[in-house]
């Protein structure tokens, strides 16, 4: 095992997760004000429509597929028949391409619209560039190293499981082509920069809205005076 492999495939993932958790928690408890999606729709509407909504949906589906692949038992049965595997791969590649295009729309919007430029910070640029690279590499892998839905289960998944078990087994990934390795590391890079960027809005997605009552009332002094009702 080369030192650089250990650094990249053992140390780096652990550091990324540690950063994501620790900085994320620090930010949540000490600077909750900054937990925002920082939507710029109010300043620019049109390009956002073609960028934001399709990008988010494409990404959510791609992400869901990546996570589903970790359940190897279910996943291997699911994609076993070629009648599922082929459309799935084609669909995945198409989604990946569209996510690159729509993120491109968002990138250009941020670059060219003077209003949006004013509400763009350095972490925003960092995030959009890393995302763009990760998506582009992912699409390249999907197109030129086909059947990733299959070999993903025998490379990245056992590697990540070994990391989770604190018994790193990097032989699953070290011999892969460099572009695939880049995609794997890109994922952890995203995790590492997540707490420093607006990406934190992912973890505060307001799912609780679905079961919350419409009206929210907060009492400051009632409990002190009122008998329990």
């Amino acid at each position: 095992m080369r030192t650089v492999d250990i650094l990249l495939f053992v140390v780096f993932p652990y550091v990324s997760v540690a950063l994501a958790v620790l900085v994320g928690l620090y930010r949540y408890f000490f600077d909750r004000f900054s937990f925002s999606s920082f939507s710029s729709q109010f300043l620019e509407n049109r390009a956002l429509f073609f960028g934001s909504a399709p990008w988010h949906y494409a990404l959510l589906i791609i992400l869901a597929a990546h996570i589903a692949g970790m359940f190897t038992g279910f996943w291997s049965r699911f994609i076993a028949p070629p009648s599922r595997l082929y459309p799935l791969e084609a669909f995945g590649a198409a989604l990946g391409l569209s996510s690159v295009v729509t993120l491109g729309v968002l990138f250009v919007r941020r670059l060219l619209n003077p209003r949006i430029r004013k509400v763009t910070t350095l972490p925003d640029w960092l995030l959009v560039i890393v995302l763009m690279l990760q998506l582009a590499v992912g699409v390249y892998v999907a197109l030129f190293y086909r059947w990733g839905s299959l070999w993903y289960m025998y490379t990245a998944v056992p590697w990540m499981i070994s990391l989770a078990k604190f018994q790193p087994a990097i032989q699953y990934v070290t011999s892969l082509p460099w572009i695939i390795k880049l995609h794997y590391l890109g994922g952890f890079l995203l995790l590492a920069i997540f707490p420093f960027t607006r990406l934190v809005h992912v973890v505060v997605f307001p799912i609780t809205y679905l079961w919350r009552p419409y009206q929210v009332v907060i009492w400051n002094i009632r409990r002190r005076f009122a008998p329990a009702r």
């Binding site: 600077d31 307001p206 679905l210 400051n220 008998p227």
Partner: protein, 513 residues
């Protein structure tokens, strides 16, 4: 009966002179920060007009407030359901853009000093306060439609005109017959707020003790549904911090016994503030009523603070004796519930707004004859010549009904009959040129009594500061005690640092990440 207290308001439109002092008082205190330049938590509109933001009343455009299913009588958010909110979260199709308000700007004043010597006067070009770049043509600004009653661009596009007959619309445009009045607006601090219901993060809440609706800046995540959800467009997006902000009814002032700044600053003394008690159990019933019953339904949600049953339930709910006493003195209770003179703005949005308006008296109908401006005789009601008959109002009853009673013209008529009765009675008393018979008829028509007329007149024309603003004791100091149970006067361990208690940011509200 779930009795709760609510700080609520009355604006007497007859007295509003449209000076915008209220707006400036608010702006100077709360919204002179970056990202809030375009916020007007208090604004004054000219009616008929398109308002601010442009066409805010058009809910087909912005989808604010609630709508009632005419078949089931059930009420739902007009914007979308809960699942719709989560699926539209990446792009809100009904969000107003900054251009629906205006792009805030300043001027390049420096050029006035630094311009090189030339044959022409130097100018101060407008500069956008968003981008910092020059704006060639400023196309909209605050109060852009100020005083433009009768204008084909602004007044004619008022959404409230859509039910008027062509003659009525024409008459409102005729030269010499033009009419407009002012409509000051702040957050209504509704009983059934659309903004609270639309916020997926649960960042917006109503304070239980006084009903003030606030946005937690810590919990707001810029999902921006509140901006659409509020039918009055009184939630503003701070484009710089990525947070929504709104009128806070100057609660730091209220908690120290002062009226809100816009109330305090009002030159025309049109504003009244007081506590009312309401029955929270009846809200769902009230908002489900058909349009024409909405005002009456809202009145029935408001409780009589003198009723022993109400007082008992209020006390059981933790409302202090002092608060009940203040609710009994409330001018809002008198105007809205007792005298039925004040009306909610656009009750058909079904948010139960707690800011009520006394509609403006109408200018006397007049025609030019042989170069003389003559008042039209009052016709059937025989209250001439000082007050034109209601049906000959320059502002059609239908228009006012569209604003204040969800189309119920009878309610508007009753309000005006009473207002007219007060005038006639007081003229009878003070000037004496009205016959007792006319007074009797006016009182009968207005369904009022001399005593009531006197009381209305007193609270309308001669109220003192303390009569206009019955600022309830919000007992905030007790709330603070509640948060610091270990406070000990012996050890004097009070929270003494600024921003330790009360409101305020302990870090600058700006982007750091």
């Amino acid at each position: 009966m779930d009795v709760r207290a609510q700080v609520s308001m009355v604006f007497h439109l007859d007295k509003c002179i449209g000076c915008h002092t209220c707006s400036i008082a608010c702006k100077n205190i709360w919204t002179d920060r970056k990202g809030t330049e375009y916020h007007w938590w208090n604004n004054v509109e000219t009616k008929p007009g398109t308002g601010f933001p442009t066409l805010w009343e058009d809910q087909e455009k912005y989808r604010g407030g609630w709508e009632r299913d005419p078949r089931t009588g059930k009420v739902r958010l007009k914007l979308q359901g809960k699942l719709g909110t989560l699926t539209n979260i990446f792009y809100n199709p009904y969000l107003p853009r900054i251009d629906d308000y205006y792009e805030p700007w300043t001027y390049d004043y420096e050029n006035l000093f630094n311009a090189p010597l030339s044959d022409d006067q130097p100018t101060a070009r407008p500069i956008s306060m968003v981008t910092g770049e020059y704006i060639d043509t400023v196309e909209a600004g605050p109060n852009w439609d100020d005083d433009l009653g009768g204008s084909p661009v602004y007044a004619d596009n008022d959404p409230n005109l859509k039910n008027l007959s062509p003659e009525e619309r024409r008459s409102m445009q005729e030269l010499g017959n033009l009419v407009f009045f002012y409509l000051p607006r702040i957050c209504n601090h509704c009983l059934n707020p659309g903004c609270v219901a639309a916020c997926p993060a649960g960042a917006i809440y109503k304070r239980g003790e006084d009903g003030i609706v606030l946005i937690s800046q810590e919990k707001c995540r810029a999902w921006r549904m509140c901006i659409s959800g509020c039918p009055y467009k009184k939630v503003y997006f701070n484009w710089f911090t990525g947070k929504s902000e709104k009128c806070i009814l100057c609660y730091p002032r209220l908690e120290t016994g002062q009226p809100p700044a816009c109330f305090h600053a009002c030159v025309g003394r049109i504003r009244y503030l007081g506590l009312i008690l309401y029955d929270a159990d009846r809200i769902t019933w009230a908002i489900s009523q058909p349009d024409e019953y909405l005002v009456e339904a809202q009145r029935s949600v408001i409780l009589d603070p003198f009723d022993p049953e109400v007082i008992r339930n209020a006390k059981a709910n933790g409302i202090t004796d002092l608060m009940i006493e203040y609710a009994q003195r409330s001018p809002v209770y008198k105007f809205f519930k007792l005298w039925k003179l004040a009306l909610p703005l656009h009750p058909e949005f079904r948010t139960l707004p707690m800011l009520f308006y006394v509609p403006p008296m109408q200018p006397v109908q007049a025609v030019q004859r042989n170069g003389v401006y003559e008042t039209v005789d009052a016709g059937q009601e025989g209250l001439a010549p000082m007050l034109a008959a209601l049906e000959k109002n320059r502002t059609p009853i239908k228009y006012l009904a569209s604003l204040f009673s969800a189309g119920n013209e009878q309610i508007i008529r009753e309000v005006y009959h009473k207002l007219i009765a007060v005038r006639i009675y007081m003229r009878f008393k003070k000037v004496g040129d009205v016959t007792p018979g006319d007074v009797q008829r006016a009182l009968q028509l207005g369904q009022t009594t001399p005593d009531e007329c006197e009381a209305i007149w007193r609270l309308t024309s001669l109220p003192t500061f303390e009569e206009r603003f019955v600022v309830p004791p919000l007992a905030r100091e007790m709330a603070v005690e509640n948060q610091f149970p270990e406070l000990d006067p012996e050890r004097r361990n009070y929270p003494t640092y600024r921003a330790e208690v009360g409101f305020g940011f302990r870090k600058a509200p700006e982007r750091r990440w």
